[in-house]
Subunit: 128 residues, 2 copies
Amino acid sequence: MREYYSITELTREFDISTRTLRFYEDEGLIQPVRRGRTRLFRPSDRHLVRQILRGKRLGFSINEIREIIQMYREPPGEVGQLKLLIRRITEKKDDLRQKRRDLEETLAELDQAEESCVERLVELGVNT
Amino acid sequence: MREYYSITELTREFDISTRTLRFYEDEGLIQPVRRGRTRLFRPSDRHLVRQILRGKRLGFSINEIREIIQMYREPPGEVGQLKLLIRRITEKKDDLRQKRRDLEETLAELDQAEESCVERLVELGVNT
DNA sequence: GCTTGAATTGACTTTTACGTAAACGCCGTG
DNA sequence: CACGGCGTTTACGTAAAAGTCAATTCAAGC
């Protein structure tokens, strides 16, 4: 496991810009350490970036991603906070399950559309 | 099956604003018919709205949603166009499958986070 | 010591997806 | 007929998520 990654290494690995990484830092999503002024990204930062991009692909906003990331952190010590966190996690899970339903439905409709196309091709006598 | 829905009926049903529906019309996603100047939404428009909102929940942009919607239409008559459409559909499906992987991973991590919370509660001697 | 290339910061710009406000049309009711 | 309610258009505004540009800084290599 590498100790540090440079900002350009991560931009290449994830195909994002330096501006994006700095933006995520400004937003408090990642906190790379500094050597002088240059940012050093640890494996944990790298993993966070991975999670952020995953969240983005799923259509979550930066704020929602921030919330999700906080859920992965060490659970709090106080009972009330713990219960609150569990409620939040449950909500996010429900959210994701809704997305999963949406996804399956969309996939099914696309399958149908594809099949119509193939049928149409067969009608036209095209060797598939 | 109702013949027409008014704009406010749809805003209530889908919990969106009239502005949003007009915006979708401006963007060419729906084409409600008119009686005078008032819009009349047919069941097909209503179904499109449903698909649009599903797409939004999955994080697709308006442009992407427009593309997807066009895929549901009658397949074109020309072979080249048909093959192109099939390629596009395949791409979207790949896209959705990526989202599904993202979704499952995020769900798994949330499950883990939840479990940590529950464990912590047990440590604190809380009766779950 | 000078150049070169990678990083940094800060300011300004852009795109998307609507929100909001103004100003008006149409129609049924008391 | 005045009104309230629903609908319309036009125009401007805005928040989020970066992109872009300019001015600097810094370290490395020759």
